[in-house]
Amino acid sequence: MTSGQCLMIVIGLGLLFLAIKKRFEPLLLVPIGFGGILANIPGAGLAYSAFENALHAGDVQLLTELASVLQSSAEDSIKGLVGAYAHSDASTRLLAEHLVADAGYTNGILYNFYSVAIASGIAPLVIFMGVGAMTDFGPLLANPKTLFLGAAAQFGIFATVLGAVGMTSIGWMDFSLADAAAIGIIGGADGPTAIYVSSMLAPDLLGPIAVAAYSYMALVPMIQPPIMRALTTEAERKIEMVQLRPVSRREKIVFPLLLLILVALLLPAAAPLLGMFCLGNLMKESGVVDRLSDTAQNALINITTIFLGLSVGSKLVADKFLDLNTLGILSLGIVAFAIGTAAGVLIAKLMNRFGSTPINPLIGSAGVSAVPMAARVSNKVGLESNPHNFLLMHAMGPNVAGVIGSAVAAGVMISLVGG
């Protein structure tokens, strides 16, 4: 066992501790942490492809053959051959895979899970459908202006992109623009969106990005309140908001379709994410396919979550995770959360100044999404200043707006950087 594998197993156990004892997003961190341990079992190769397993365990003859197929010099290290493989064209890769298969090497089981669940893009989309089927757009429809708060909080995403490229330009890290975009999405506070984007733009960084996204989502009750208190006055925190109007069932049915049409017209790159989200929501609100909606919210999302978590865990393999970049990602991620929170609160203050109906700026922080944790934080901080002021339903508006906002940001990233 290398020291790296040992360290990663300890990190996996640490994630399990946080998930089980501290209740940090346990639904994801239990399978991720466990998958991380499985991925680092020495000699088992569960997280490696057949090709990587052959490189780690193969004899000299096989390695020489592979090197000749990949037109790489035979003295190359494993890393060299992996690199040569990655840069070969598809037919050369196929040839190498044949050699490896004939020598009896197979994909590790976590590698298979990753291919089916994440590389194909299916698991995050299915989870997004389930989240859609659990989302109530009522508060958002009652007060559509809160969509601006969901937009504002996405500033954390783009500020982080700038931070990542800045760190690269001063030589601290080595991120490409695609890497920076994927790292920024951590600030969207939305697990499946972050996984979807990084599987497309920066699959190598998926492990740390997913771990950062879920960990910081769990830390929202610790990260946000100081920022919220620092940026608001006591008087602002006491603002009571007018009660939300009732929303008709028809509006709730039409809204996901409206959103879908807007996406179709303006932002096709966000269509998979927001499309599946809208489908889930439409299944729920239409009231005619309760069977499907229930399954999307239960059996299907649970099954997918297990395999998604294990697949993310497969990216915690030591030689990919233990890297200076991971530290960079973790520190950029928390900055993204902080900036998003601040931007949400500040824009809420601005809207309050220029709008007619009063807005408590504390609900601005809920715009980062992290549903429903961030909305609960808004409510809790509000109650500290005014024990009769329940902001929860008001904060749900920006909260679900934040989900839409970061999916839109994801679409923009993919269309600008991934093309």
Partner: protein, 78 residues
């Protein structure tokens, strides 16, 4: 090249944040129009039905709770 990536990052930030704001602003407008239209053309025939559907079980539950707690009370004070 290193300042180049910063320039690209800046561009991504401006264009990206712009797109998000424009898209969500448009969504605000469309949603408002949609809600107005829907509520004008089809004035709440459904919320009521839904409300009744929702409240029915609640009432039943309340009744059941009342009955059972009455029985419990009776049972205890016997």
């Amino acid at each position: 090249m290193q300042s180049d990536i910063v320039a690209q990052g800046l561009e991504l930030m401006l264009y990206g944040m712009g797109s998000v704001v424009v898209f969500l602003a448009l969504l605000v407008v469309c949603t408002t129009v949609m809600s107005t239209t829907v509520n004008r053309l089809f004035p709440e025939p459904l919320p009521v039905r839904r409300a009744s559907r929702k409240t029915a079980p609640v009432e039943q539950d309340e009744e059941l709770v009342a009955v059972i707690s009455a029985a419990v009370h009776q049972h205890r004070t016997r």
